[in-house]
């Protein structure tokens, strides 16, 4: 196999430095294995996330544009973003400013730089599934995930709204299904692929999150999945951190590991449990993976 290294800009986002650290760890490891060199955008800042989007439209777009401008000054023409919310914010900022010249001028005044609307913004799942491709991924598999029954859970921000994310299908996305299938896992079908977990209400409206995440966990248990696979650190945090509390409310114990798709890629590539940060999840996947002969 020829060894061609692809270089691409990387925007991890704030969560991947904190609660989503294991997502970041597994992303870096998996990309390295696939000969993708991630070049972190120097001095990237927060995209403003949902609070800026809610409270201040100009600030939200400016923070997005600031990061795209940073990519431009470092000659980065493509950026890959693991966090679905950051992905949607950066992409929206770019497209909204392309469409509105008056707003663009205002934002340029705010960020004291030219708006860079040429940079390509990719979400990580899409980049791996479509740009790297299933064939290249299959080439790296050392340990297929045989017998592992997984439910792919995409959440909202990756696919909705369709005219903003331009990615997959907002009601029935398939890209993660295909990727997990390529890893050798048994991909179960369900209707909750893009249901909301409660997202940023986790802190201020914990009850709402327990209700919404609870519906997802209940359905996953009914489908008898071994694990729920996610592409978003907020989904991971809500479904994993609140799982014990939700189980208590439902009078049961779910014990359902919530795993990043990149962690499963890593395991299939023969990487170690710990180097993928899997020991960090509250609901430990260890026993389940051992029983399947994957660990």
């Amino acid at each position: 196999m020829e060894n061609k290294v692809t270089k691409i800009g990387y925007y991890p986002g704030c969560s991947l430095e904190a609660t989503g650290k294991s997502y970041d760890m597994s992303v870096r490891k998996v990309c390295l294995r696939l000969d993708i060199e991630l070049e972190e955008i120097p001095e990237w800042s927060c995209c403003g996330s949902s609070p800026a989007l809610k409270m201040d439209g100009l600030l939200s777009r400016s923070l997005g544009a600031h990061n795209l401008a940073l990519a431009g000054t470092h000659d980065i023409s493509k950026v890959v973003v693991p966090c679905p919310f950051c992905f949607r914010r950066l992409l929206s900022a770019k497209e909204e400013l392309q469409q509105d010249q008056a707003l663009k001028a205002k934002v340029e005044e705010v960020i004291e730089a030219e708006v860079n609307d040429r940079v390509e913004v990719h979400n990580l799942l899409g980049f791996l599934r479509y740009n790297v491709g299933l064939e290249a991924i299959r080439d790296h598999i050392k340990k297929p995930l045989k017998g592992l029954k997984v439910l792919p859970y995409y959440g909202c921000y990756l696919v909705k709204p369709a005219d903003v994310t331009h990615y997959d299908d907002p009601e029935n996305p398939v890209s993660m299904d295909e990727l997990l299938d390529a890893l050798g896992a048994e991909v179960l079908n369900w209707d909750f692929k893009t249901e909301c977990c409660g997202a940023s209400l986790a802190v201020s409206k914990t009850d709402t999150v327990c209700e919404l995440s609870g519906r997802i966990l209940r359905e996953a248990a009914y489908r008898q999945a071994d694990a729920l696979v996610v592409a978003c650190q907020l989904c991971q945090a809500n479904l994993d951190m609140r799982q014990a509390q939700i189980g208590k409310q439902h009078g049961t114990q779910y014990n359902l590991p919530i795993i990043y798709f990149t962690q499963l890629m890593g395991l299939a590539f023969g990487m170690l449990y710990k180097e993928l940060g899997m020991q960090r999840h509250l609901t430990s996947p260890k026993k389940m993976l051992k029983s399947k002969g994957i660990l």
């Binding site: 904190a18 403003g48 409270m55 100009l58 600031h66 921000y157 940023s200 951190m241 014990a244």
Partner: protein
């Protein structure tokens, strides 16, 4: 509803929302697909369809005090399913900015406080200090041990460290300047 006739002055609020959000609420069919799909609509939170009805009817004070747009998590489900492609999280931003500029008290102080603390953290260090922000929120709402159990377990697993809570990130002057300029433009208008 006022949308077809009425005094232009009474339509001012509706027009403002439409122009600022870029969402043509006049096309709304009141079909209710949005509220039926919305994860946060409940017995207590009236949801996007009824919020749009308030705006179309020019009932500004109620619309600006509505809980729906505070609860909105911008999941985009309503926008994906709306037959006339109205994006409600864009409307939420406009209502939030209007309420802020008119000094209307938040109907959801908890959500408001968290979002403010979040932005303060970004303002200060350029990136949000996630765990610190959660800790500050729990302290400010007199609930310091709210997430202590999962938090402690995460620490034992090494997923988070005490430094994540205590460490004050380095400042990011460029981001601070962005905040300052946005503030200036807002007051200049």
């Amino acid at each position: 509803m006022l949308r077809l006739k009425s005094d232009p002055q009474e339509r001012e609020f509706l027009n403002q929302v439409i122009v600022k959000s870029g969402q043509n609420l006049l096309e709304c069919l009141q079909c209710g697909k949005c509220s039926g799909s919305c994860p946060i609509t409940s017995e207590r939170v009236r949801g996007p369809r009824r919020l749009i009805a308030l705006i179309l009817s020019g009932i500004k004070d109620q619309a600006l005090k509505d809980q729906t747009w505070w609860y909105c998590v911008s999941c985009g489900t309503c926008a994906s399913r709306c037959p006339v492609e109205i994006n409600m999280y864009q409307v939420a931003t406009v209502l939030c900015e209007m309420a802020e500029s008119e000094g209307i008290k938040s109907s959801e102080p908890g959500i408001h406080l968290f979002e403010e603390l979040f932005m303060k953290s970004v303002h200060k260090s350029g990136r949000v200090q996630e765990l610190k922000t959660v800790m500050q929120y729990n302290l400010r709402t007199f609930n310091p041990f709210k997430d202590a159990v999962p938090g402690f377990k995460l620490m034992l697993k090494g997923a988070v460290t005490p430094a994540d809570i205590l460490w004050t990130g380095a400042s990011n002057p460029r981001v601070a300047r962005i905040f300052k300029r946005v503030e200036k433009i807002r007051h200049g208008e």
